[in-house]
């Protein structure tokens, strides 16, 4: 009996030793305060060889023509063991990160969270003096602006940033927009047909009688999508007319969802007919769901840049700069456009099929700095317009 038990315990501990050998023991981790080193060691050898071989093949082909990217800070030899930690709001950019690793040999580990969670984490890590993330890529411009104001980002004057429109970047180089996030409507066409409704084309179409209780929208207090939508409407229509419109819109919405992604889920599940949603220009929802159509309102829609930034205090500053340079280069933007079907910030990129042509969409003129600055007062006003 005793021996059997000992055997079991030994087996488990041996197993766990093997399982944990790729990571550090807790004691070592505690002693090691630089997160970069920790993750470095965590990378299993098999992974790095896989990355190396793929890097070789792509670099061979890229060497013939123009590699499509350049960075003054790049040093292939010194950077091959570096892992960048990244925060972001979506997993769909993983193929872009893989391409970056293939091109540079620098590995990227991403963690996907919501905008507010990222901001909160950066604040905590800054208080603790141990920044975990090196870079922050994807999210809403307002959180990047807020983070820059709180000193959480590292300014970098990227050479490639010069080609971007002024509205797509921070004047001091704290962040650069990579692609556009567009507000659109997810419409359940099966239900539009069933109830004999007019397919909505303009913002006023959302107010039609048949859509009462059938418009899904997120809470602007907790969702960037909804906040950008209402602030854009207010900027375009003016204070008075804007709030008058929003009052009517509020009447159409049964309840305001907690997260920006909920309205689209509701429409796909048939819980609502129209959902106010944000997308990067892809048509995936349409392609995967037969009863769904994506509509860009004819009279203009809200949008914001999808930024990339370096986190202040990173231990891998040079590698992080390489990431920014790569991301803003033709190669990076083309990859982003190709794999993510995103409407990218550069206009010298060939647009792949399956993506909306940004030129056909009417965009609201938006002032992002004002959006970030007026957030509290607009939300307070919004509260007073809700049915009590």
């Amino acid at each position: 009996m005793k021996r059997k038990l000992l055997l079991v315990v030994l087996a488990i501990s041996a197993f766990l030793m093997i399982a944990c050998s790729s990571s550090n023991t807790p004691a070592e981790q505690t002693a090691d305060s630089t997160p970069a080193n920790t993750t470095e060691a965590a990378q299993s050898s098999s992974e790095s060889t896989a990355a190396d071989t793929s890097a070789d093949t792509t670099q061979d082909t890229a060497a013939d023509t123009d590699a499509g990217w350049h960075s003054d800070y790049y040093n292939a030899e010194a950077m091959k063991d570096i892992t960048l930690n990244m925060y972001g709001v979506t997993d769909t950019i993983i193929p872009v990160l893989e391409q970056f690793t293939a091109d540079t040999g620098i590995k990227v580990e991403n963690l996907t969270m919501q905008n507010g969670e990222i901001l909160q984490r950066l604040i905590n890590e800054s208080t603790a003096g141990t920044p975990i993330a090196d870079i922050w890529f994807t999210g809403g411009a307002d959180t990047f602006i807020s983070a820059a104001q709180q000193g959480l980002l590292h300014a970098y004057d990227a050479p490639e940033g010069a080609v971007l429109d002024d509205i797509m970047k921070d004047p001091d180089g704290y962040w650069y927009g990579t692609s556009l996030t567009l507000v659109n409507w997810v419409v359940n066409t099966a239900l539009i047909d069933e109830y004999g409704l007019k397919m909505p084309e303009t913002w006023d179409d959302l107010l039609q009688e048949g859509l009462k209780g059938e418009v899904s929208m997120s809470d602007p207090a907790s969702s960037g999508t909804a906040y950008n939508t209402i602030s854009a409407i207010l900027q375009v229509r003016g204070e008075e007319e804007g709030w008058a419109y929003l009052d009517q819109l509020i009447g159409q919405v049964p309840y305001f969802t907690a997260r920006g992604s909920d309205p689209a889920n509701n429409v796909v599940a048939g819980e609502a007919i129209v959902g106010i949603n944000a997308s990067n220009g892809d048509r995936e929802l349409e392609e995967n769901n037969a009863n769904i159509k994506l509509v860009y309102p004819k009279d203009g829609t809200g949008w914001w840049p999808q930024p990339v930034a370096i986190v202040e205090g990173t231990q891998n500053l040079d590698a992080a700069k390489v990431f920014i340079d790569w991301m803003l280069s033709k190669k990076g933007m083309q990859t982003l456009a190709d794999v993510r079907y995103a409407a990218v910030a550069r206009d010298d990129i060939s647009i792949p099929d399956g993506i909306v042509d940004i030129k056909t969409i009417q965009l609201f003129p938006v002032d992002f700095q004002a959006n970030a600055a007026n957030r509290e007062s607009i939300l307070l006003e919004w509260q007073s317009h809700l049915p009590q």
Binding site: L5, L16, T39, N85, A128, P254, A258, A269, G270
Partner: protein, 562 residues
């Protein structure tokens, strides 16, 4: 019954005690301090207060209804499956454990697809168009899941009740109903109440169900998550956390110091095989009916999730398709490995220390035993996400959280942002499972057994390893399996603490659930629950190696004998 305490025991006890103070007491105290130290928080506007109390009311309404329904259902299930004989009982007994490997979150989505405005059952079948969001949805999903927990806890009570008292009542001419109401139930009352309180706590701390199907009806726990992720306001979150702690602590205190003190168990009954033959036919039929109905729902939900993973567009187009499993190829494998490592390592440490602590506290009564017991069981009363906030605000400072006040010139050693913190919080949370398993087991172990060993001349090491360890083995195994399956799907406590290199599978699923791809979410969640099942099976075999071999050999042996 005071025993000699060997000095290695004392040392280990000291280490465990320090662990409890640092990793359980300190974070909980920190939340309170962090919350009330924020004078400029939005919370102190009347609106903030008002909102918190609305959410508290929601939390309490849901929790109370869920507690009553789940406990009653669990009781019926336990009686049906342990005290009655009928065909198909074994199948039902296995089915009732489904929620323990339930794919996380997608149950709520399944509910929307089935009972929503355009749900398969409500709309297509019954022609109704009703919104699934709100309290009804939360209650339904939670009852489905938590009944299994209630069943499990009550079953262990049923197996321990002293059947001879019931027999006595029967021989004195009491009717079956009277026996049930005046003998059986009162005997089990402490266990039932204890079960109810644990169900209450589980319902209070569930944040993902209200988040997905609550609609405008959000509870305190889900609102905590929204406050951090949407409103970027952690101090308000900590303050509403304190409000959430109050009812939880009250329930915990009631359970710990009032109910669990009364016990009517006899020391040595194992009544698992008792079958009640004299129950009136219609009553028996009704109980089997209710049990079957519940389990049908459970199985239906599960199969519907499988259906969602295997069809083109869940909720709209039910054409067979493997597309969702193909898109799994893009999923990284590493989070699954991380989940497994986390669940295994924490289950091992938490169960080991938990059971050992139970042994020390029960048989050796060391100094501060009451405090140690209180600290170790405290995490049961603290909702996971709140415990996570506690870790966040404590361990972002150097040297285990207290270095904020001293040692400032030294290079900071901060736990936040290391992989270790996720392991530590899981061990701290799951240790009470081992502790409770240990206590339950020691009820049946005579304290003098250790003294007997000493008197017969065995040394300290020998006594511990060959007398006590084998005794506590089964408690360790039970606790390990429970902690492991919990660890695979735990999210609330770690969601704010994980770092890019050790993200876990549940977090992946949680992200996919949000990204408008419910079919993919179903597929990946099924994969996780399947993986949990396989490893549970693997560990079960490992622990019961000898029995399994014996059983495998048994038919063979018989043949030889014949």
């Amino acid at each position: 019954m005071h025993l000699r305490t060997p000095s290695p025991h004392k040392l280990i006890y000291g280490i465990i005690f320090l662990f409890l103070v640092y990793f359980i007491l300190l974070p909980v105290v920190s939340i309170v301090f962090y919350g009330i130290s924020s004078s400029d928080s939005l919370f102190f506007t009347t609106k903030g207060f008002q909102n918190s109390f609305i959410h508290l009311r929601h939390s309490l309404s849901v929790a109370i209804i869920v507690t009553i329904m789940a406990t009653v259902l669990g009781l019926i299930l336990a009686f049906t499956l342990h005290r009655m004989a009928f065909a198909g009982k074994r199948v039902l007994k296995a089915l009732v454990l489904l929620p323990f490997i339930n794919p996380p979150f997608v149950g709520s989505i399944a509910y929307i697809m089935l009972f929503g405005k355009r749900g398969l059952i409500t709309h297509q079948l019954l022609g109704l168009t009703i919104s699934p969001f709100g309290m009804r949805g939360i209650v339904t999903v939670q009852v489905l899941g938590l009944t299994a927990l209630a069943y499990l806890l009550i079953s262990s009570a049923i197996q321990k009740t002293d059947i001879s008292l019931e027999e006595a009542a029967r021989t004195m001419g009491a009717s079956e109903g009277k026996v049930l109401l005046t003998v059986t139930l009162p005997m089990m009352a402490p266990e039932i109440a204890g079960t109810a309180l644990l169900v209450f706590l589980a319902s209070m701390s569930d944040f993902s169900t209200p988040l997905i199907i609550g609609g405008s009806y959000q509870t305190l726990a889900s609102n905590l998550y929204i406050q951090i992720t949407g409103l970027y306001d952690m101090q308000s979150a900590a303050l509403s956390g304190i409000i959430l702690l109050l009812p939880c602590f009250m329930a915990f205190w009631l359970h710990k110091y009032h109910l669990s003190k009364r016990s009517y168990f006899s020391d040595d009954t194992t009544a698992s095989a008792i079958v009640n033959r004299t129950l009136p036919r219609h009553l028996k039929g009704m109980m089997i009916g209710i049990s079957t109905l519940y389990l049908t729902f459970l199985l239906g939900q599960y199969l519907f999730i499988v259906l969602g993973a295997l069809t083109k567009q869940w909720g709209y187009d039910y054409t067979f398709s493997l597309a969702h499993f193909q898109s799994l190829k893009g999923t990284q494998i590493k989070p699954f490995i991380n989940s497994f490592k986390l669940a295994s390592a924490t289950a091992l440490f938490a169960s080991g220390t938990g059971v050992f602590l139970a042994y020390l506290l029960k048989l050796h009564r060391p100094k501060f035993a009451t405090a140690a017991d209180l600290f170790a069981t405290l995490p049961a009363a603290v909702p996971g996400i709140l415990f996570g906030i506690g870790y966040l605000v404590t361990f972002r400072y150097p040297i285990l959280g207290i270095g904020k006040f001293w040692l400032t010139p030294l290079p900071s050693i901060v736990l936040l942002g290391t992989k270790a913190i996720v392991y530590l919080i899981c061990i701290a949370r799951f240790m009470n499972i081992g502790l409770r398993a240990g206590y339950a087991l020691l009820e049946h172990v005579h304290p003098d057994i250790e003294n007997a060993s000493y008197n017969l001349g065995a040394g300290q090491a020998r006594t511990f390893f060959s007398i006590m360890l084998p005794q506590m083995k089964s408690a360790f195994f039970a606790s390990f399996l429970r902690s492991f399956s919990d660890g695979m799907v735990t999210l609330g406590a770690i969601i704010l603490l994980i770092i890019p290199s050790n993200k876990v599978a549940v977090q992946q699923i949680f992200t996919v659930v949000k990204s408008n791809a419910s079919g993919d979410a179903a597929a990946i969640a099924l994969l996780l629950s399947f993986m949990t099942l396989i490893f549970l099976g693997f560990y079960y075999l490992l622990f019961n190696f000898r029995d399994v071999i014996k059983r495998l050999k048994a038919p063979f042996k018989k043949e030889v004998n014949a």
